[in-house]
């Protein structure tokens, strides 16, 4: 029965719906809170009811998001992919986003794939590379299917050095390639000799040097580093300036201590210092480990992956197994570097949306007012973007405190039910790749996943709970 305290206490009313009723309360001296209500996405009242009213989903989400929050990924080493990444053969090429076949790959991804084949010596030239691919001699697979993530094209091949992150809390590993810098780079589809030359240097010099330093340091806790960077104006997706600097500061003594020659160490430090996104790949692997910790919780509506291959955007949900829910990759709305325009842009691409999946990047934009200008907005827009994400997430990560919001924890763990209920898509803060291989980044901006990723997964989740009463 209803509690007695209700009668006799002052009414504090929230009005959801017809404004007239709120007006009537105002006329009676109350100050009702008026919710700006809008119908759910695609009018999905039935599926929302089925999933929002099922307490099993709430319990599952609580477990899943706690696992996401409690992950403590540690950077422990750098090794060749073939030695550590599961399922990595010499013919394997991993790519960003949901699975895709050669004929559907966009320009930058194709360019990167060809570059990787040249780099691995699997082909001598582009024609030969394409011929091998078309003969079916190359095994394509999603990074995400191998505990890995990669920015932009996200291409990883067997001899590439990869960061190894270990989450002892949940007994998991994750992997990512090393960031090549800006300009003509493989992840934007470039495959010219200078690109391949840099990749070889990374394999032969940078990777081993970093590996020695990281081991000497006894590993590096990544989340505290991200947390510091959030307090220094990074959101750790599109801006990694502070984080990269902190990383260099942390590793420099160990790089020197394990140095094989001053020239080599200088080249390593110079390379790191010359790349403001050097930290991004480590951060992404850290996010991947956290997201994977939350995967596979039966009935959970928590989103555990968002990724794009330049053609499709894909989403995975904790309680819906390995399936990707996909829709067409969208165009990024943002600012272009001088000389470039919409016409040059490739649709949204890369695994870097793993950042938003665990609450940083666009979700923590409030912490990065400088990025707002870079993508054509204002600091107020950045604040608003973060505030809106609290409405579609399950938790606040107190380890990721956002100074402009009075150190409130970052909005973490997307609940697909909330996305559909409020018809509010996750905000993603991303770079724009040129649609042609090898040109590189041409701008940066905001993008949203296609709504279909969430409506389709909600249909499946509703069917799942109804099938298992």
């Amino acid at each position: 029965m209803a509690e007695r305290g209700f009668l006799g206490s002052r009414l504090e009313v929230v009005n959801v719906g017809v404004d007239l009723f709120a007006d009537a309360l105002t006329a009676q001296g109350l100050e009702p809170v008026r919710v700006e209500w809008q119908p759910p996405a695609q009018g999905m009242g039935t599926e929302l009811w089925a999933t929002l009213s099922d307490p099993r989903i709430d319990a599952a989400n609580e477990r899943a998001v706690q696992r996401m929050l409690s992950a403590r990924p540690k950077l422990v080493d750098v090794c060749p992919a073939s030695e550590v990444v599961p399922g990595m053969s010499r013919q394997t090429i991993l790519h960003a986003g949901p699975p895709i076949t050669w004929e559907h790959m966009c320009g930058p991804l194709r360019g990167a794939v060809i570059g990787a084949l040249l780099y691995e010596g699997l082909a001598q030239n582009e024609v030969e590379a394409v011929a091998r691919i078309e003969r079916g001699e190359i095994d394509f697979s999603s990074c995400h299917h191998h505990q890995a993530v990669g920015p932009m094209a996200g291409v990883m091949s067997s001899s590439m050095p990869v960061y190894i992150l270990e989450d002892e809390v949940h007994g998991r590993q994750s992997f990512s390639t090393l960031n090549e810098g800006l300009g003509k780079v493989l992840r934007y589809g470039a495959n010219s000799p200078e690109v391949l030359q840099r990749l070889r240097w990374m394999r032969d010099v940078l990777g081993p040097a970093l590996g020695r330093a990281i081991r000497k340091a006894g590993g590096l806790d990544v989340k505290p580093l991200t947390a510091q960077a959030l307090q220094m104006g990074d959101e750790c997706h599109n801006r990694n300036r502070a984080a990269s600097a902190i990383l260099i500061r942390a590793l420099a003594p160990f790089l020197v201590e394990t140095s094989q020659s001053p020239e080599e160490t200088a080249s390593v430090l110079r390379f790191m210092a010359g790349n403001e996104h050097f930290y991004l790949n480590i951060s992404m692997a850290c996010c991947k480990a956290s997201a994977d910790a939350a995967a596979g919780e039966p009935f959970s509506s928590l989103v555990t992956a968002m990724a794009r291959n330049g053609t499709e955007f894909g989403v995975r949900v904790s309680g819906l197994g390995e399936r990707w829910y996909t829709g067409p990759a969208q165009n990024v709305r943002g600012l272009y570097f001088s000389g470039f325009s919409d016409a040059d842009a490739n649709p949204d691409i890369g695994d870097s949306t793993i950042s938003e999946t665990v609450g940083i990047g666009g979700f923590s934009m409030a912490a990065a007012p400088a990025i707002a200008q870079f993508i054509g907005g204002t600091p107020a827009d950045a604040l608003r973007a973060t505030l809106e994400m609290y409405d579609i997430t399950l938790a606040e990560d107190s380890a990721m405190a956002l100074p402009p919001l009075d150190f409130r924890g970052a909005p973490t763990g997307i609940d697909l039910r909330k996305v559909v209920h409020l018809n509010r898509l996750p905000v993603i803060n991303t770079g724009i790749a040129h649609r042609l291989p090898g040109v590189g980044q041409v701008g940066a901006g905001l993008v949203e996943p296609p709504l279909a990723c969430f409506t389709q997964s909600l249909v499946d989740l509703a069917a799942l709970v109804q099938k298992n009463p």
């Binding site: 209803a2 009668l7 929230v14 009005n15 959801v16 709120a22 809170v33 695609q42 009213s53 409020l422």
Partner: protein
């Protein structure tokens, strides 16, 4: 004339806001007609009927139910542009504005509101039915009591929500709960009545309004009035909210007399409610309208009193609470009887039928009970007996009483208590029908209702009577006026305006129906 159409995709506004916007746009200079509606099939059909949308309009072009459609017809391009600009401004104003800081924006979700305002204790929910259960669920999870005004919520959802509410120690009023008065505050459609010692738990919104107004007219007041929603006393729902409300009223120190109102409940549920009432010690008046309760049905207890109409429930309660028994101005005096006889005598031979046009379902029910006793079968869209159902709710047959607040009339459109348009059209239709002898209308005042219903209905009554007179008929118009002097519309002002238009006005619905019955030819003449 130029007509221009604008589709705003994925922008929702409620039907009341859109009605107000449509009116504001139509009032602009040089604008002949304007409409702002959600682009549902039903609304597009209405626009086609109004000639604002071509009959061959491609539906895809005009969006779907989640898209907002604005149509302006005006003399000049400039007027069209001005109207479209005004529409945009009206909509963006509604959307909470764009200026100022983030903190000043309206919350976009109930969850957000609850987070921002931890003191909240009640959610008033009136979103379209397909989405209402989800919002109510969120409110309960946020620890809020709920008044769920929305209808078209499924039975399964209602039961689940009421179980959740009980689990959390919260009160869920509704779905389809139009009225409540909690701690002296009217929620939904409610009248300004004094606080007092009579507590009400009601499955009927307008029933609650009528009874609380009659109690106010007798000089007494309401402690708490709890709405339960129309289906609460069905077998499936089990009277959960009625029983919770009864418990609250039994324990409430301010309440000395309890009234329970409902349409006929499922027998087992009626039994359960009566037993619970019998267990308490407070005098309790039970009015299950249209059911044939007698002492043998329920448990017998000296403090249980049964009533057949809203009027008799109010009278009994007033009596039990120590107030004046006779309600002011409401007995069927000789004077009124004479007026009814005179009206009847002035009828032309073909004028035979009472036509009731109601905005309140329970007022319609009560009127039909009174009318049928004297006149026999009353056709209706909410018939007392299944065989009295109207085949077409838009076409009266014999004695007819229509509930214009019923679902088939309100999907995508404001309730007739807010928007008189539909009823005015129907009133004109009935007035033109030469077989109509008596028009019977209810007008419900109070918070949430139309700000000045007489301003729209009185001229329509005057016009109807004039037209009938020109055709040689005397058309009697009887109004059941539910409200109080303290209501925003002022009872006396409304009454005077209606009386000036030639209507006979009563504040007791059963009495209005009785006079209507007396003004019509007796049964055998049909």
């Amino acid at each position: 004339m130029i007509t221009k159409t604008l589709v705003r995709r994925n922008l929702y506004a409620d039907s009341v806001a859109l009605m107000q916007l449509s009116r504001a746009l139509t009032a602009l200079p040089e604008v002949e007609d304007a409409a702002a509606v959600m682009s549902t099939a039903a609304n597009r059909e209405l626009l086609q009927q109004a000639g604002l949308l071509g009959a061959d309009a491609d539906p895809g072009e005009f969006g779907g139910p989640n898209d907002l459609l604005i149509i302006i017809r005006a003399a000049t391009d400039a007027a069209i542009e001005a109207a479209l600009l005004a529409a945009e401004q009206g909509l963006s104003h509604r959307a909470g504005g764009e200026t100022g800081t983030v903190a000043q924006q309206r919350p976009r979700s109930l969850e957000q509101a609850a987070r921002q305002q931890p003191a909240l204790n009640l959610a008033l929910i009136s979103v379209p039915g397909a989405y209402a259960a989800v919002e109510a669920h969120q409110a309960l999870l946020a620890g809020l009591h709920v008044l769920l005004f929305s209808d078209n919520v499924s039975l399964e959802q209602e039961v689940a929500l009421k179980m959740l509410a009980a689990e959390r120690g919260l009160l869920l009023m509704g779905p389809d709960c139009g009225t409540a008065i909690i701690n002296g505050i009217g929620l939904g459609f409610a009248n300004a009545v004094p606080r007092g010692s009579i507590g009400i738990a009601s499955a009927s919104g307008t029933g609650l309004q009528q009874v609380s107004c009659l109690i106010a007219h007798a000089g007494l007041g309401i402690s708490q009035a709890i709405g339960t929603g129309g289906r609460d006393l069905s077998q499936a729902v089990g009277g959960r909210t009625m029983l919770a409300g009864l418990d609250l009223l039994q324990q409430d120190p301010e309440t000395s007399v309890i009234i329970l109102l409902s349409k006929p409940p499922a027998p087992e549920i009626a039994q359960r409610v009566l037993e619970r009432a019998a267990q308490g010690s407070k005098p309790t008046v039970v009015a299950f309208l249209g059911s044939h309760l007698d002492r043998s049905v329920g448990p017998s207890a000296a403090h249980l009193h049964l009533a057949n109409t809203l009027s008799s429930a109010a009278r009994l309660a007033v009596q039990l609470a120590g107030g004046r028994v006779v309600l002011e101005n409401e007995s069927l005096t000789e004077e009124i009887r004479a007026a009814a006889q005179a009206a009847k005598a002035a009828l032309s031979p073909e004028q035979r039928y009472v036509r009731g046009l109601f905005s309140g379902g329970t007022l319609c029910d009560e009127a039909m009970l009174v009318l049928s006793q004297r006149l026999g079968p009353i056709a209706s869209n909410i018939p007392l007996r299944p065989e009295w159902a109207l085949t077409n709710p838009n076409q009266s047959q014999g004695h007819t009483a229509i509930d214009l607040g019923s679902d088939e009339f309100t999907v995508g459109r404001p309730h007739p208590m807010i928007d008189a348009g539909l009823r005015l059209r129907r009133l004109a239709q009935e007035a033109r029908d030469p077989t109509t002898a008596v028009l019977l209308l209810d007008i419900v005042l109070g918070y949430g209702a139309h700000p000045d219903p007489a301003a729209e209905i009185a001229p329509a009554i005057q016009e109807a009577r004039k037209e009938a007179a020109q055709a040689g008929r005397n058309l009697a118009c009887i109004v059941s006026l539910c409200g109080t002097e303290q209501d925003p519309q002022s009872l006396s002002r409304q009454r005077e305006e209606l009386q000036r238009a030639g209507a006979l006005v009563f504040t007791e619905n059963a009495l209005a129906a009785q006079v209507a019955a007396e003004s019509a030819p007796a049964k055998r003449s049909q």
